[in-house]
């Protein structure tokens, strides 16, 4: 049976009521049953005594009768006239009638059925008139052995199947001369007296001998009950304090058996059975039954009312708790519990709920803090910032709708430069302090309430400006940049932190919060690339970016589609104009866009890591070219650019070694060019890689030297063979004395350290000559030769070689 089939199971209150009433009914049933049992036990305990009383009563009634009869008879027996008549000498008929009439009058007085005179031999000498002569003879015959020599006899005997009471009173003249015999059947009066005086039933059984069954002579019971009693057999008299139990007609009769015969044996004669019905004794009196039913009904009513009240007292607070739990589940942690003052279990439960509510509310707040706030800087995190931006945009939009206020919202986003370097060199603890310091500076830079500073991720921060415009945002960005120029002092460390700062404004640059954030981020990355101060979002950045994304995916296919081309730009010795090497450069021959400039895909290849594939492609292609050129008799050293990611790849030396082996090219045929910044990102790993490469025999070159922060002293620790002075210095050295000084001193210092110097961007003969004066070792630039495919390069080398052989003394005339 399912729960649905028992609706009361759904309700605790109904259950309580049902259980209460069921318990009450059980108790009532048990008490009824125990009442019945105790009544039965009581009856069984009491019945033997009652039966005993019935038996005593029967004996007494019989004895009283005997005494009464004897008293009356003695008068006659002692009457001299009676004796005179009895022993008269003349035995004629008149005399006999006289005697008979005398006995008849006695019979009337004692209310007997038979009166007779017995001689000394016990034989009937005279008897009253009428009556049953055979019965009298039977009585006399049975009585004879018991007649006392000198006295009185009384007996109960079976006569003609009926129980008779017999009394014999001696006639003393002066000694016994005979007996007056009084006999009468036991009758209804005796039964009535026994029944009415003791409440017991009386049954008299008779039988002629032990071989015969008992027959019912008379009874106050129903005939069927009496027959059941007769059939019981009755082997022995019942002990005074016991009773025989005889089942009869579905009832049980408690019986005392009392033999009334002469010898008190049960082999014949008369047996009196005093009986009581057990079920009558056990039966509850009607008025008691009525009272019990009344009590039960009253108790049910009282219990029902009480259990309803109790159930209400329990279920009402439970419902309150259930409602409260529902509220908690729905996220309402503010409403306090009720019933806290109750002293019982429900009160304790309410208090537990209340503690749980408070605890959950606190946890909720904590979760919100963790979800929306950065634990290190105590600034909002990206999620919170995003919400704040959304809120600000909605407020601004509402303000516009409400009063036409033309306020904008700006997001300034910044990403720290070289933060990873700080972490690696100075430790994460200092890194964290740097972040906290930056957060403080940013917060200080904000003047207005409502503006929000957030830490978006690692070293990325953002500022939300409400009710502002692009100009204010840019001013703030500049202020921030200036504040970052002050080095952070952290204990013994002084840390310079720069940052790329991007700005995007609503509604100028974006319609919604997410795109506003994306565009601020784009501007920030653009600023980092340009390293030229804050950048405000411009659709052009975005367009390039989108184009770049497309290019990156196409670039991946370019290798397979064989769209990449290797270009070589010659490197010449300034001293003798001999071609000593070439820089291997990659070009992308896009099927639709034509030749894609390196600046459009190299930086993004670096960002995505694809640069490693490019590097390997260039290296392998360069190895192949070297072999071709070598076959043509050109023993050149080819320079290959390595990116930051290449340097961090610890497997790079092995990969290069494998390629060298495959193409059977010596390592010293290559110069590997590394930018300063590539080394500085992770100096230790970079140094390890460089040491390994140097050990293999590769020549190493620092590219774009002068643009970074590395010092020559630091370079000294690197296994570097060559410096390439950045072309910006070379181009300007003739017009700018400072640049010339930088080039000159760089060359001098490099030479002092035993490092060869290469100048890039040599575009004029003047530059060539000046570099030659400055003792620069090699030069590379359009003035001598631009990057060109390998086949062109071979041809170029051939023509260059011929011109040089022709003794072209003036280097300035070389190309143009």
């Amino acid at each position: 049976m399912s729960v649905n089939d028992r609706p009361w199971r759904k309700s605790l209150g109904a259950r309580i009521i049902v259980v209460f009433l069921a318990l009450l009914l059980a108790v009532q049933l048990v008490s009824f049953a125990s009442l019945r049992i105790s009544l039965s036990r009581h009856a069984h305990n009491e019945m033997p005594a009652k039966l005993e009383r019935g038996e005593q009563l029967l004996r007494t009634l019989l004895e009283r009768r005997v005494v009464a009869v004897a008293d009356v008879t003695k008068v006659t027996a002692s009457d001299f006239g009676f004796s005179t008549v009895l022993f008269a000498d003349d035995h004629d008929e008149d005399h006999e009638r006289t005697i008979t009439s005398n006995l008849d009058s006695l019979r009337t007085r004692v209310e007997a059925t038979e009166v007779a005179f017995l001689g000394l031999d016990g034989a009937v000498q005279h008897r009253s008139s009428g009556g049953d002569a055979a019965a009298v003879a039977s009585v006399a015959a049975q009585l004879r052995p018991q007649l006392p020599a000198n006295g009185f006899a009384s007996e109960i005997m079976r006569v003609g199947g009926l129980p008779y009471q017999v009394v014999a009173v001696p006639v003393m003249k002066p000694r016994v001369v005979g007996w007056i015999l009084i006999a009468f059947p036991l009758g209804e009066k005796l039964q009535h007296d026994v029944k009415s005086l003791s409440g017991t039933d009386l049954t008299l059984l008779t039988r002629a001998s032990a071989r015969e069954p008992w027959a019912v002579a008379m009874t106050t019971l129903a005939g069927a009950n009496a027959n059941d009693l007769a059939e019981n057999g009755w082997g022995a008299p019942t002990a005074p304090d016991a009773m025989a139990s005889v089942p009869s007609q579905g009832d049980e009769l408690g019986v005392h058996a009392l033999p009334l015969g002469a010898d008190r044996r049960l082999d014949g004669g008369v047996l009196a059975l005093i009986s009581l019905s057990v079920s009558d004794a056990v039966r509850l009196p009607a008025d008691l039954q009525f009272q019990l039913i009344l009590i039960t009904l009253t108790a049910i009513g009282v219990f029902a009312a009480g259990s309803v009240v109790t159930a209400r007292r329990v279920t009402t607070p439970l419902r309150g708790l259930a409602d409260a739990a529902e509220r908690l589940g729905a996220g309402d942690y503010a409403t306090p519990m009720r019933g806290l003052t109750r002293g019982d279990e429900l009160g304790a439960l309410s208090q537990s709920f209340e503690r749980m509510r408070i605890s959950v509310a606190e946890n909720q707040a904590q979760i919100l803090r963790l979800a929306y706030w950065d634990t290190l800087t105590a600034l909002p995190n990206r999620a919170r910032f995003r919400e704040a931006v959304g809120d600000a945009l909605r407020d601004a939009a509402d303000a516009r709708l409400a009063n036409g206020a033309e306020f904008g919202v700006a997001v300034v986003m910044l990403d720290l430069n070289r933060f990873k370097h700080v972490n690696d060199v100075l430790g994460y603890s200092v890194g964290d302090q740097v972040l906290v310091g930056i957060a403080e500076r940013l917060s200080r830079a904000l003047a207005r309430d409502g503006d929000v500073v957030a830490r978006l991720s690692g070293d990325e921060f953002a500022i939300l400006l409400r009710r502002t415009d692009a100009a204010q945002a840019e001013a703030l960005a500049l202020r921030i940049e200036r504040s970052l120029e002050q080095p952070l002092v952290l204990g013994e460390h002084k840390v310079d932190m720069g940052a790329g700062i991007g700005i995007a404004c609503w509604p100028l640059h974006a319609d919604d919060a997410d795109s506003l954030l994306v565009r601020a981020e784009m501007a920030m990355y653009a600023a980092k690339r340009q390293t030229n101060g804050p950048v405000t979002y411009d659709p052009a950045i975005d367009a390039t970016s989108v184009q770049t994304l497309t290019l990156i995916s196409e670039l991946r296919q370019a290798v397979d589609r064989n769209e990449l081309r290797l270009y070589l730009q010659p490197k010449l010795a300034l001293e003798d104009r001999r071609v000593v090497g070439a820089e291997a450069l990659v070009r992308w021959q896009h099927p639709t866009r034509g030749l894609v400039p390196p600046m459009q895909f190299i930086p993004f290849a670096e960002q995505t890591g694809f640069i490693r594939t490019l590097t390997m492609w260039v290296f392998e292609e360069a190895a192949r070219c070297w072999q071709i050129l070598a076959d043509e008799g050109l023993q050149l050293r080819l320079s290959v650019n390595l990116s930051t990611r290449d340097l961090l790849d610890l497997d790079l030396p092995q990969k290069f070694a494998a390629l060298l082996a495959r193409h059977e090219v010596p390592a010293k045929a290559f110069c590997l060019e590394i930018t300063e910044s590539a080394i500085m990102d992770d100096p230790q790993r970079a140094l390890a890689t460089l040491d390994a490469l140097s050990a293999m025999g590769f020549k190493l070159s620092i590219d774009d030297f002068g643009t970074g922060y590395s010092s020559l002293a630091y370079l000294k620790r690197l296994p570097v063979d060559e410096l390439k002075i950045d072309q910006s210095f070379v181009r300007n050295m003739q017009s700018d004395r400072d640049d010339e000084m930088i080039v000159r001193s760089t060359i001098d210092l490099a030479h002092n350290l035993g490092i060869m110097v290469v100048a890039e961007g040599v575009e004029t003969a003047e530059a060539w000559n000046l570099l030659r004066e400055l003792k620069c070792d090699q030069a590379q630039g359009y003035h001598m030769g631009k990057p060109m495919p390998v086949t062109e390069f071979s041809a170029w080398c051939a023509s260059w070689g011929m011109r040089r052989a022709a003794g072209d003394a003036d280097g300035a005339l070389l190309l143009h």
């Binding site: 005179t84 022993f87 003249k173 002066p174 000694r175 016994v176």
Partner: protein, 201 residues
């Protein structure tokens, strides 16, 4: 005196006809105690010994008692009932042996009562319930009364007899106390005991 008379009679009767024996009967009650004043009669079997009525027998009433209480008389003996008290008596007997009444009288009644049937007559007084007497009417001359538990019947001729013992303690419903006895020429000692079913040795 009565016994002596009877003895003399017996001596006279059997005389020289044969040498007579003495029968000594030791009488005890059912418990075995010797009985005094028991009447032992030897009744010949199949014959009758001649017996004469006794003379001068009387039972007086004195101090509201019969005196003697037990009398043995031969059949036909007339007995006088002299009233020696100052109150009247009404002597009666309803015994089969002799039914009679001597209604209220004082002094000596004129006529004696003749006990003409053998048996035991129980005598009472209708005025005084406590008065009781027995008259044993015997047909045989061979009888004796016990003293110290012994009754000696003298001059018993040889022959078959029935010993008949009566004692006042016997109930009326008790059967006669009889026991056969053969007497030869010599004296006989017989020990008897009264019993509810009859006399036993």
């Amino acid at each position: 005196m009565l016994a002596r008379t009877a003895l003399l009679a017996a001596l006279l009767c059997v005389g020289a006809a044969a040498r007579a024996a003495t029968v000594d009967v030791a009488v005890s009650d059912a418990a075995g105690s010797p009985l005094a004043d028991a009447v032992v009669m030897l009744e010949p079997v199949g014959a009758k010994l001649p017996v004469k009525p006794m003379v001068g027998a009387q039972i007086a009433q004195h101090d509201l008692r019969f005196s003697p209480q037990v009398s043995v008389v031969t059949v036909g003996t007339p007995v006088m009932f002299p009233n020696q008290d100052t109150v009247k008596h009404h002597v009666y007997s309803y015994s089969p042996a002799k039914t009679f009444q001597i209604k209220l009288y004082a002094g000596v009644p004129h006529t004696p009562i003749v006990f003409d049937k053998p048996g035991v007559a129980v005598l009472g007084c209708n005025i005084h319930d406590g008065m009781l007497a027995w008259v044993i009417v015997t047909e045989t001359p061979l009888w004796a009364r016990s003293a110290g538990g012994h009754a000696k019947v003298l001059d018993v001729p040889p022959g078959s007899y029935q010993i008949h013992v009566w004692h006042s303690s016997l109930a009326e419903t008790t059967p006669p106390q009889l026991l056969p006895l053969t007497v030869a020429a010599s004296d006989v000692e017989q020990r008897v005991r009264l019993g509810p079913g009859g006399l036993v040795k």
